[in-house]
């Protein structure tokens, strides 16, 4: 996990670092989601806010980003808009994303999950993007 400030621009050549990048400022949520996904065999990397996630996404490639919206430093919507290239995003937020924001984000977000969701729903959403099992 590396920190850093968002600067925008295109991403350098990267290799896939993990299946899922979990971005959430709530440590317990982040950890529990990490545990659930790992029990199903997915590799995960955690980021505690949008700014950290921005740095990771510039350096590494992920199968999908499980993204919280309201976070300090850089929120989820701003993170998506700051990057020109981005893996598929599954929003996982306690807040509803407004219709206007959904329109702006377009198809960069493939699924919206409204916390709390069951582990089964969470796994189903991740599997829906990455396939039935973890990427090897």
């Amino acid at each position: 996990m590396t920190g850093g400030h968002p600067e925008g621009g295109s991403l350098p050549a990267r290799t896939r670092h993990a299946d899922v990048l979990i971005v959430d400022d709530e440590a317990d949520v982040r950890q529990s989601v990490c545990d659930v996904l790992q029990t199903s065999g997915f590799s995960v990397v955690e980021a505690e806010d949008g700014a950290v996630a921005f740095g990771l996404l510039r350096e590494n490639l992920y199968g999908l980003v499980l993204l919280d919206i309201r976070m300090p430093k850089l929120n989820g919507v701003a993170l998506i808009e700051a990057l020109t290239e981005m893996p598929p995003v599954v929003v996982h937020s306690a807040f509803m994303v407004s219709v206007g924001e959904r329109e702006r984000l377009g198809d960069k977000v493939v699924r919206y999950l409204h916390k709390p969701v069951s582990p089964q729903q969470l796994l189903s959403a991740v599997q829906g993007v990455l396939g039935t099992g973890p990427v090897t």
Partner: protein, 520 residues
Amino acid sequence: MTRGGWRPSPLTVAVTLVVAAATVLGFVLTSRSVTSQNQALLKSDTTQAAEYVSSIVSTVGAPLQALASSVTLTNGSPADFDAQAKQVAQTPASVILARKTSTGFVVTAVVGKGFVVGRSPGPAVVRTLEKAGTDLTPGPVHYDGKTTTLGFALGPPLVPAGMAIFEQLELSPFLAITATQGAPFHVLRAAVYASESPTTDQLILANTHSLPLVGLTAEASVTVGATKWWIVALARSPLAGGFANAAPFIILGVGLLLALAIGTTVEALVRRQRYATDLVAVRTAELDASHAALVRSERLSALGEMASTIGHELRNPLAAVINAHFMVRHTLGSTITPDVDRLLRMAERQTTRASTLADNLTAFVRQREPDLVPIDLGVVVHEVLETTPPPPGIEVTVDVPPLTLRADCDQFTQVLANLVVNGFQAMPEGGTLRIEASRRDGHVVLTVADSGIGVDATTLERVFDPFFTTKASGTGLGLAIVSRIVEAHGGDVSLCNGSAGGAVVTVRLPVETSPEMARR
């Protein structure tokens, strides 16, 4: 705000009556004044007429006095009397010389007709001759309906003692004679009688045939020698003048018109004031309602803000706890003991309940605009009962005819689901839930009635307030969400106690909800 119709206000009636009463009073007082003035003038004119008649009559005595002097000079010679009397007695007059005897008066000489020398001139004439003296003494008067007969006598000392002369005249009372041509008679209808009471056979003169005179009359005495005649008069036209006599009626007319005008003005002012008062009351009521709505809106807004914060703050912990339950169950796998499994189930159950609360809070706060589509009421009822089946001991009866309305399918489903769940929860000992629907006045009316214990008055007042609940485990948002959704559809919802007990919730939704109505 129309009231009163054509009925005037009490103030208008009072003011109009006061002005009208003042007018009538003015009319009466002025009438009396004018009448009094007319009477005074009539009396004055009648007195003048009497004096005029008196002066005319006195001129009649001059030739008779000259004859008396001649009788004295000739010492009562009948021959000389005849010669002198012929100058006095012009037709139709008769003149006699009478001498007093022991049996009364006897005619000694006569010029004219009606008397015989050597005989008595008659008792009435004798009574006149008995009273005759220096002053002209009028004799008996008699009106036979055509002609009036009257006479005058003179006695000693104008003639020798024991003698008297008497002139008897015949005249038509209605012929224009000097006495009734005088100025005072121009404005009067008058009659002169020999008696004080206007007796017909005592009529001497008159300038009118309308006898006896009736109405506002005046009387005055006419001095004739030592006795009196009487004149009775009536004004030909009001003596005080036409304007003076019209004045009371002018006052009455103008006063009544004034009363009408003032009454109309007062009524207009009263109605304006009443209208203004009513308008103020209506505006005040509107302002009160608006203020109450604003207060409620602000209260709901504050509640919504709080609900939103609580809801969102619950979601992250719940997400972590749910995942943690999953991990515990996953970690223990088949080694889980029944006690741990029971405790885990309890934790999962309560977590699900907390999640439902968070969902309700979100549903209450984030009410989206209805997406109106035609929905089949029967289908929605069926789906709700399928996803929310009745607990054991509760029977559900459905009487919903084929009805289609335009509504947001998800929101309407939530309305019905909330009402059904509420009904089930109101009957912990079991009972019957009746779901009925009908179409009335362009609305679909849906009722959900339970057979529970019903609700008390306090609950009835607050049952749709958010966070108000009588249940130990309720969030108090179910009916608040129902109310919000129904109002967003342009409908209304109410709750009352059914006649057979239990609570009845009635939802009225317009069949054709317009987008504008739905956004209200």
